[in-house]
């Protein structure tokens, strides 16, 4: 049992559990599943600065902050007690392409070449960690949601604007990966 839990979970298990979340949150308390809203609530709680977009009762949305806090704890539990003893298996073609583009460390979930405190203070690390994070926050709010709010909840409730949003996410991600990433990784 524990062995099965420790091995990487297949896509259909992950997909099923994630797919049930919108319905569970609706039944638990009429909550609309979405994770990027947490960033807005943090702004509203910490630095509203009289900006109209952050003038609302964020405390009524505190459930969303509990949800993301749970994610941090869950990830810690999975990594500490259910950790897979083997290194992550990545598609051979992806490994070859990334090696050619300058990634050397394929042992963890993230390439430690870039995502480390030491890496942060290089131009490359700054772009991936800081600029990347900024675009995630700015873009998701501008788009009114992220992969969970649009990709799962929006599509599960048959809303066409969410389909447009998720296609835009993928176009942006592919454009970055194919057009810019080779140059940024070479920095």
């Amino acid at each position: 049992m524990l062995e099965t839990l420790k091995a990487p979970w297949p896509w259909y298990v992950a997909g099923t559990l994630i797919g049930l979340t919108p319905a569970i949150l609706l039944l638990l308390g009429n909550k609309l599943f979405g994770l990027s809203s947490s960033l807005r609530h943090i702004c509203a709680a910490v630095v509203p600065a009289k900006i109209p977009f952050f003038q609302y009762n964020w405390k009524a949305e505190a459930w969303n902050l509990f949800l993301v806090a749970g994610i941090v704890i869950g990830a810690f539990i999975a990594n500490t007690f259910l950790s897979n003893p083997e290194t992550i298996r990545i598609a051979d073609t992806t490994v070859q392409e990334l090696q050619a583009e300058g990634i050397t460390d394929f042992n963890a979930l993230m390439p430690a070449d870039i995502f480390s405190w030491r890496g942060l203070f290089t131009l490359r690390g700054f772009i991936f960690i800081v600029v990347g994070g900024f675009l995630v926050g700015f873009g998701t709010r501008y788009a009114g949601g992220c992969t969970s709010g649009h990709g799962i909840t929006g599509l599960a409730t048959l809303q066409w604007p969410s389909l447009v949003a998720i296609i835009s996410f993928l176009i942006g991600g592919m454009a970055m990966t194919h057009l810019l990433l080779p140059y940024l990784l070479a920095l």
Binding site: P8, W9, V13, A14, G15, I18, G19, L20, A23, L25, L27, N30, L39, I42, F53, W63, F66, G70, V72, G74, A75, F76, I77, A78, N79, L82, I88, I90, A91, T94, M110, P111, W117, I129, V131, G133, F134, V136, G137, G139, T140, R141, Y142, A143, G144, C146, S148, H150, I152, P161, I166, I167, S168, F169, G172, G173, M176, T177, H178, L181
Partner: protein, 136 residues
């Protein structure tokens, strides 16, 4: 505490994110390069299960556990869905995380991602600041 149940939902979510290795920057690269079916499999299964379960709630007219009627607000399309969506896509490919996995990456010990998360909060804040001037 009425919000603790959401902490538990998040906790399961965090475990799924890590155990399915969806928090991995490499998984996103496989997806954007069309070199692995995994993430597409997750997305399609999740949408299918989500569609069936939410439709069941609608068809059966289920109420929340507290007995309130369930309301699903309509999303109003605007240009931001495309412009913001593409900008988010750039950030998604760079960080390897949409907002959910960023939280999970921190939980797995990549503490430097707290900087990404903080930067994402700043990005959200700047959007709020410029909102009236941006095309929607």
């Amino acid at each position: 505490m009425k919000n603790l149940k959401y902490l538990l939902v998040g906790l399961v979510f965090g475990i799924v994110f890590v155990k399915a290795e969806m928090v991995s920057w490499f998984r996103m690269q496989e997806m954007f390069r069309f070199q692995s079916f995994f993430m597409y499999g997750v997305l399609f299964t999740a949408v299918f299960v989500g569609l069936v379960s939410v439709s069941l709630i609608r068809v059966l007219g289920l109420k929340t556990f507290a007995g309130e009627p369930i309301v699903i607000p309509k999303k109003q399309f605007n240009k931001g869905y495309v412009i913001g969506g593409i900008l988010f896509g750039f950030g998604w490919a760079l960080t390897g995380g949409c907002p959910g996995p960023l939280y999970a990456q921190i939980g797995t010990g990549f503490t430097v991602i707290t900087v990404s998360l903080l930067s994402a909060v700043v990005g959200t804040w700047v959007y709020g600041l410029l909102r009236a001037k941006l095309p929607h």
